[in-house]
Point group: C2
Chain length 205, copies 2
DNA sequence: TAGATTGTTAATCGATTAACAATC
DNA sequence: TAGATTGTTAATCGATTAACAATC
């Protein structure tokens, strides 16, 4: 059995990766846990500890080669490959996601978009033709797609999630402002701007 | 000095509130820490512990009155009032946010939207006229706005954040895929779909 | 009353930090 | 070599859970 890595550590790796990519864009070759920590507001010790769960990626005295470390983190996170992602819902958010070109550099490729509204089906969203969500389950299953983003109204989200799970999806990023219940083995991440705003008002006057 | 509440507790309160609102919509009057916990995948003990940081909101033997508890949580989070929020960036995401009607029930009101592109300035985004971002700092300061959402390209985000801080904004929800550095006392939340997706691929095969 | 559920304490569990030998 | 920084251990800190008296 492989060593059990805390989920909170997994959650920080994408942040590290994003910072490494930015440093790389700035033309930097090498960094240190201290520098990375200062940029991210995370302690240097924590960064070293997190990375040490997976191997030894640095050199004493000099730090980490940025390109090398980025590749290692990509490998750990399994984003050194391309994941097909389905979008469900072709409203404002679904279309914004379909047109977003930031996914490809990060390991993802939008592969289908679905909606239930007859007036949207057959229309365009980014470079995709919007498909009928009645065919969703079989198309996703046939394509072997494991990841999906939900951008449908709150009232529809649970039903969509259920169908996605039946189709074999095991990772869901939901923009619907409701809690989704899924079986063990299926991961869910939520994006709800109101929730994020409400996390901050407590500290305001 | 008021008791110091862990940020992780504050982070769960909006989740509780959202679940309470949903129960309320379902016509329910009363719930228990156990029921709430089952819906959210959180232990009942944790919910009781979290709430007990702020007061005694339940009744032994019966549980919590949903409407009452929701109001208490709103008060704790300070979303029993309306917060004006500025949007910076009128691309796909900014316009989706400007047109989103879910904010008003959750304590927020979009009040302005800005962009730097001449061809967008003066145009419409939802019910708003897009303003010139050169006037952003003074308009936000004049209106006393404390919250903003950033929906500009990654390359612009830090400069925008700096201006927002200068204008008096103290809570920023950023959709730009970069880490923002802000002074102490300013809170930042990030929404980056790639980061959320990358948090899940580790668990896939 | 009997049953249910809270609020809270103490115990457990897990995450973060400090410190430093190893070494580039 | 001297200085810097890693990887790792042990100590600290903080969060979660279990358990139960209080009480509705």
């Amino acid at each position: 059995m492989p060593k059990q890595i805390p989920d909170i550590v997994i959650g920080r790796l994408p942040i590290y990766l994003r910072a490494l990519l930015q440093m790389s864009l700035e033309g930097r070759q090498v960094t240190s846990s201290q520098e990375l920590g200062e940029r991210l507001g995370i302690s240097a010790a924590q960064i070293r500890k997190d990375l040490s769960q997976f191997g030894e990626f640095g050199k004493q005295g000099t730090g980490y080669n940025i390109e090398f470390l980025a590749n290692q983190v990509r490998e750990i996170l399994k984003v050194n490959r391309v994941w097909d992602v389905a979008i469900v819902g072709a409203g404002d958010i679904g279309r914004a996601l379909a047109g977003y070109n930031g996914f490809s550099q990060r390991g993802f490729r939008i592969s289908m978009i679905f909606d239930a509204k007859p007036e949207l089906i057959g229309g365009q969203a980014g470079e995709f033709t919007i498909k009928d969500s009645r065919t969703m389950k079989e198309e996703i299953a046939a394509a072997g797609i494991q990841m999906a983003m939900i951008a449908v109204p709150a009232t529809q989200a649970q039903a969509v999630a259920d169908q996605l799970v039946e189709a074999g999806v095991r990772a869901i990023l939901s923009y619907a402002p409701v809690n989704l219940n899924v079986p063990a083995g299926v991961r869910v991440q939520n994006i709800d701007p109101s929730i994020h705003l409400q996390r901050m008002t407590y500290y305001l006057e």
